[in-house]
Symmetry: C2
Subunit: 452 residues, 2 copies
């Protein structure tokens, strides 16, 4: 017993890697709590404790302390839908209708420009923008997901790769069989990875034939992985389905048992009451992309009606080509404004509900609700801090309002993912920002023969 | 003739104070022009020339040159409606309906807190936020406009003081007579001022009796000054007017000859076709406040329908208490998204139209269209620059899209008003930002007995 320490309090102290303290902590669980002068204790990749500052500092010996004296700390934002490398097409096709935008602008540009280097550069640009605006988890649906996975693990971002399932031959695959072959190999490679999860990403019901959708569902069920699909994005899609098949895509996918808790239905701007019932019955998840839907004049997702029906709803930016930003704070602001507009009642779209959707709600849509989305012991240490000493934030009456209506991306000071610090005092730790911007400018000049 | 210089080109060179060069200049007149490698020559308060860089540098000897090598230069944004000092109530009343928000939260807080110090601090905070996000001209409707004028001239902001005309006794006046007395004295004082203009600011038709509105119109016509009024902000206001008076406020103000080119009607979310005709016939100006209207679930102004009818439309943020920001870039993004949604067509709400509304359109609503709003010789040197080497902007395909959909307030690097530089490399020149934020925090702690 020679090693036994004599001083009583040290016997009960536990070691941890980091203690973070702040005047305002919003754990999101419970949804509307503002915890004053609290602290997080981080051990390795995880939150080991969360509580009043004195309790935590009295119970843990930390190797490092981060005293965020004027900050709001909250879970990292979860961007539940995007096409990351499309940052390189930001602003390339403006003021066009969805089908014209896809067929006249985006698809031809992609055909000419997309390759592995494009995807790695565009993805890196997306991660830089996301981290600086407080997003810690992405979802991507794009070509060369192997390269996205490589960049994500190099930089330390968490995310879901919804690998594309397309019938059309493209730069990454010759058709559905090759998509599945490559995507399932990727899933094998990453199935135990701490940061990256793999899902199936059939583009849409109108681009992937019904037999192939059945195949997607079969693989998803067999491997117990998610399926992310664009669904009911605009009224033309629904009208066409009713014309060709006598029923909407939601009705069809309900009838064929495609829908279920592992399905992440993106957009969902057009929904009848009976379709909302089908979504709720099956536990299908829904992802709201307010900026992209409005920009393409597709309408918007009735999120409060869905949530009232018991549906789990998250928020995504969609790709930068139809947004044009990857700033989840802006998306929260829009989601709140639209919920008030949808209900013609400003008491709807409460800031607490919106922040929930952008954190734990989004995490749940991606099947990650038990791992991220709230500040709770045992969850991954994915959290962000905002320095409140900013124009546009002060005076600070209500941290929820500051986050949801203050569009405060400029105030994000520190970001941690899985216990690792990726943003420190607004400086990216694992990305050289200035060099990345120069490389992007050089790529653009090379691709279009102009300087930007 | 002894002083005649011998070298030919110097004979034709003219002196100016400053030449500004940039790879992208958007003069707004014409609306959709992108001028590459152009320059502005500034003399005193004014733009003396605008043209290709080589022409300008060949024709002017400048005391100073600002070579903005990676920037977009455009006219300063014009925020056509606000209540500046309400920055101090940012986030104080959230998720409430308009009338409850006013009567239960805002008016009681104002009664307790507003005084000259409040107005000066809140206005300074507003100017700091506006300048850093590219706004060079404000419109204010708030108590103690004398103090606002003092702060504006001290800092160098341009703007309109729509002095309040209220029947209710308040901290600034005992009623309409005192409002008019003080406001008209202010107009006398500033009528030849280079930065500040004074207008009448009757709060609304439902708070200012019809006789008093007639009086307002009489003074406005006599003095040839503007009138800014909240009008048809939401459906309750219109329904009540129809119930009490048998006609809407627009119909009433049309019948009484109140409407006219000097009237700046703010909000206008509820308009019949015949009312739009009345607005167009009379040349009444309209100011769109998209974020505030959505946040209070009031609907939104049908700006494209109005513009198609020939109505001049500007954009404003409204007060920070119902927004919660004074960021005109965010407002442009919302205006574009809503125009697409209004028309169910993404080809509407074009970025060029939206930027026009936020510059020359807003300037015109304030009666300042001949002085500001575009980069044209003879106009005031009110312009801003954005550094494009930013995440969220690169790659740069389309400067209009970057401005309207990129929410790029973070990229505003330099701001000039009336020839004077007020922001230099993102640093405010006439405001000490850190001290202002500390003072705001101290005010809040003092007013509410808490720290923020």
């Amino acid at each position: 017993m020679a090693g036994l320490k004599a001083v009583p309090y040290t016997r009960s102290m536990q070691d941890c890697d980091l203690i973070v303290t702040a005047p305002f902590m919003l754990p999101v669980a419970p949804e509307n709590a503002v915890c004053h002068d609290h602290a997080l204790a981080i051990g390795g990749e995880n939150i080991v404790a969360f509580g009043p500052r004195d309790e935590i500092t009295g119970a843990y010996n930390a190797s490092d302390v981060l005293d965020l004296s004027q900050h709001i700390v909250l879970p990292g934002l979860v961007n539940a839908h995007g096409h990351l490398a499309m940052t390189l097409l930001r602003g390339a096709g403006e003021d066009q209708a969805l089908q014209a935008w896809l067929t006249d602008t985006i698809w031809p540009l992609e055909g000419r420009l997309v390759n592995e280097q494009f995807v790695e550069l565009g993805t890196r640009l997306a991660f830089a923008e996301m981290l600086k605006s407080g997003t810690t988890t992405f979802s991507d649906m794009y070509f060369f997901p192997e390269n996205v996975a490589r960049v994500a693990t190099e930089i330390g971002m968490r995310g879901q790769l919804a690998f594309p399932v397309f019938e059309m031959s493209n730069v990454w695959s010759s058709g559905v069989a090759e998509c599945l072959h490559k995507g399932l190999a990727l899933n094998d490679e990453y199935r135990h990875h701490p940061l990256v999860t793999v899902s199936l990403g059939p583009h849409a019901a109108y681009t992937v034939g019904l037999e192939n959708l059945d195949k997607v569902a079969m693989y998803a069920n067999e491997l117990d992985i998610g399926v992310q699909i664009h669904l009911h994005e605009n009224s033309a899609e629904v009208t066409e389905a009713r014309g060709n098949h006598g029923r909407s895509w939601v009705e069809h996918l309900y009838a064929t048992d495609f829908l279920g808790p592992n399905v992440q239905a993106v957009h969902m701007t057009q929904l009848t009451e009976s379709e909302i019932g089908m979504v709720a019955d099956t536990g299908t998840r829904v992802i709201h992309c307010p900026a992209s839907n409005l920009k393409l004049a597709s309408g918007y997702c009735p999120v409060e009606t869905l949530r009232n029906a018991g549906v789990s709803v998250g928020i995504g930016t969609d790709g930068a080509a139809s947004n044009n930003r990857l700033d989840m704070f802006k998306e929260m602001h829009l989601a709140a404004l639209l919920a008030k507009h949808e209900n013609e009642d400003p008491e709807h779209g409460k800031a607490t509900d919106i922040l929930y959707m952008a954190t734990l709600g989004s995490a749940d849509t991606l099947g990650l609700g038990d791992r991220i989305g709230s500040l709770e012991p045992g969850k991954a240490a994915d959290f962000i801090a905002l320095d409140t000493r900013q124009l546009g934030i002060q005076p600070l009456y209500d941290p929820f309002a500051a986050l949801v209506h203050g569009t405060p991306a400029h105030a994000v000071s520190d970001v941690f993912v899985n216990g690792a610090q990726l943003l420190r005092n607004r400086e990216l730790v694992t990305i050289e920002e200035a060099a990345l911007i120069e490389k992007t400018q050089a790529w653009h000049a090379d691709a279009f023969g102009t300087s930007s």
